[in-house]
Amino acid sequence: MSELGSPVIDCDVHCEVPNVGALMPYLSRHWETRLTENAWTGPAGVAHSYPSPVAGEPIDTLEKLRESAPLADLERTILTCYYAVEMIRHPDLTKELASAVNQWLKSEWLDQDPQLLATLVVPVDYPQEAAQEIRKWTRADGFVQVLLPVVSQRTYGNRSYFPIYEAAQERGFVVALHFGGVSGGPPTPTGWPDLYLEESAGMSHVFQGQVLSLVAEGVFQEFPRLRFSLLESGVTWLPSLFWRLDKMWKSYRREIPWVQTAPSSILRERIRATVQPFDAPPDAQLAMNFVEEMELEDLLLYASDRPHVHGCDPTPMLALLEPDRRERILAGNARAWYGLE
């Protein structure tokens, strides 16, 4: 356990539904019977997004959660439970599963430890139902954000998703785009990759497509208090995307007149990204130079993304930052972003 000398808010930690049985108390009789009869073991999308070399040891108890903390002085932990409910096309089942995961999060985790916060699971492809689910909960329950898997059937700026954003803004929730997701279509603009490695590397460009869409479709104008967290997205691609969006906006703003300032200035206000994984040179000094030169420190939220395996540790880079900047990334940015005391 390494020490960085200040409190830490860990913004991306994965707890796992141990088996479908854990959700049964929260499902209707109808679905409990149907799923049991079918001997269903849960959506395959979880293992698809995290095959065994990167899955890590599942965190399915509070003890495992506490033991896995990489840094001392943990102030808050934001749990994210990706359950791939989006790959269930049946409108009632996807909705019930999402609701069951939220109830399970509330009673098995949030009610057990006041330090914990969590991310709401929603039936993302049924935005009206997703909005209903969001409105069942409040910040007082311990939920701080809504999970949208970054791989989606439509880009998230699309108006069809607006009911989700309306509900999230109303409740004061951040919207969290997270690595992974099952859309049924290829996760690249040019067809199916052959390898998991390729798909995993490519997830950063899927994030880029979503950010681009949110800007272009005017989501930030339509929902002036809504904010987006990018979880497990990688962060070092942000400057390159900012440059490109600003440049294209200068040329094409007549097509999207609601975008009235440079996209990078909107995004610097309205998005944050977590530091694990951190795609940077292995040399911590070079990585830190990059963060400073590209003015990233205000955009970053600390996260361990445990138990996932990324083959990198942003801690040495963070240790090199001057204390004030380091403190912001470790906790200050997250406190302000999620409105935490």
Binding site: P53, R154, P187, G191, R244, I256, P277, D279
Partner: protein, 374 residues
């Protein structure tokens, strides 16, 4: 470029430009579809006229753009022909005006022709290559061209590469950005082998119609998104090529990314190396770290030039992957987002660094003889 009237920049640019300028992305086109007739057999003339192009519907995104034919307002020739279709006008407005010693043509029609299925696509790409040779390369010795192919029909593509590859006026093989599969897929390897055998790089230019959504996250609504989003496909291709092992199999293979920028490649190289560290069991035969291949096998044209907040960020990005000898200058004439040679590159690049971008890197990539020889 934001810095357009800085006297120091313009002086430096003038010094590097006087040396030589090679433009690696110029778009010529047919003056009319009828101009293709002499290059098509009777059967395909009939087909072209009576059925016409299929697989082009995605280009309806154009309807909300503000640039007619995507062209510079002043690129419409006095002859009344479409921009890029009048050789005399292109000579004076581009080649003579900027003192360009070599220009590399990427014919506009390729973006639709190469997506046509079956024999029709084969006939069209062959015809457009013959048109380019007869009406552009033979009359104008400063011009070079890409060979148009149908990437998803490898057999026809190889025939075309073998037919034209020995002609020094053809300097690369052109694939459109969006095809049926990511570029590392083995269906494309025979094309890469044929190109490598002919000593030609594979150029990849924005465009193409694959049938997949234009992002890994679904369909966009606006042309702004299409245009800003092309870099996603470049990233998907880069990961695919590097991880596929094709560079171990075909070490001579060189990839030229046209109109895709370069700054995304740096964080992608870091990401690929990190993931390779965790997941190398999935690619046990890969001989080097991914960044090794990225650094050695890829070139990037400059237009549309990256415009960071400060010129220093540009330098830092180039330095981070040591790409100074991998950037090659392009104007994208006659398109609206033309990069003017004296204004596009950021302030503060050394004359030597600019010289490499303006000419030396492209000369060595394409093996072009000194300009005096033409």
């Amino acid at each position: 470029m934001a810095v357009t009237h800085d006297p120091a920049t313009q002086q430096e640019d003038a010094a590097a430009l006087r040396d030589e300028l090679i433009d690696c992305d110029i778009h010529h086109m047919l003056p009319s579809q009828a101009a293709l007739r002499p290059y098509l057999s009777h059967r395909w003339q009939r087909y072209h006229e009576r059925f016409g192009l299929r697989q082009v519907l995605e280009t309806q995104y154009w309807v909300t753009t503000t640039h007619v034919q995507a062209a510079r307002g002043d690129a419409f020739p006095p002859s009344g022909l479409p921009p890029g279709s009048d050789l005399d006008f292109l000579r004076s407005q581009l080649l003579d005006h900027w003192g360009i010693s070599y220009g590399v043509l990427n014919v506009t029609e390729v973006f639709q022709f190469s997506a046509q299925r079956g024999e029709y696509g084969t006939a069209l790409t062959r015809a457009i290559n013959d048109f380019t040779l007869a009406e552009w390369l033979i009359p104008e010795p400063r011009l070079r061209s890409s060979i148009a192919i149908t990437a998803d029909n490898a057999e026809a593509a190889i025939t075309e590469i073998e037919r034209l590859g020995a002609d020094p006026r053809f300097v690369q093989v052109l694939m459109t950005l969006r095809n049926e599969a990511p570029m590392g897929n083995r269906r494309y390897w025979p094309i890469y082998r044929a190109a490598a055998k002919a000593g030609l790089p594979i150029a990849v230019h924005v465009g193409g119609i694959a049938g997949h959504a234009p992002s890994g996250a679904g369909w966009f609504s606006y042309y702004f998104e299409m245009h800003a989003g092309h870099i996603q496909a470049f990233q998907a291709h880069t990961a695919s090529l590097v991880l596929s092992g094709v560079f171990d199999e075909i070490p001579e293979l060189r990839i030229v990314f046209v109109e895709g920028g370069f700054s995304w490649a740096i964080p992608l190289a870091w990401r690929l190396d990190r993931l390779h560290g965790v997941l190398r069991e999935e690619v046990p035969n890969l001989r080097f770290e991914p960044s090794h291949y990225l650094r050695r096998h890829f070139w990037f044209t400059t237009q549309p030039i990256e415009e960071p907040n400060t010129p220093n960020q540009f330098h830092s990005m180039v330095q981070a992957l040591d790409l100074g000898d991998r950037l090659i200058f392009a104007t994208d004439y006659p398109h609206w987002d033309f990069d003017a040679p004296d204004q596009a590159l950021p302030r503060g690049l050394s004359v030597e660094a600019k010289r490499k971008i303006y000419s030396a890197n492209a000369r060595s990539l394409y093996g072009l003889p000194p300009a005096a020889a033409i």
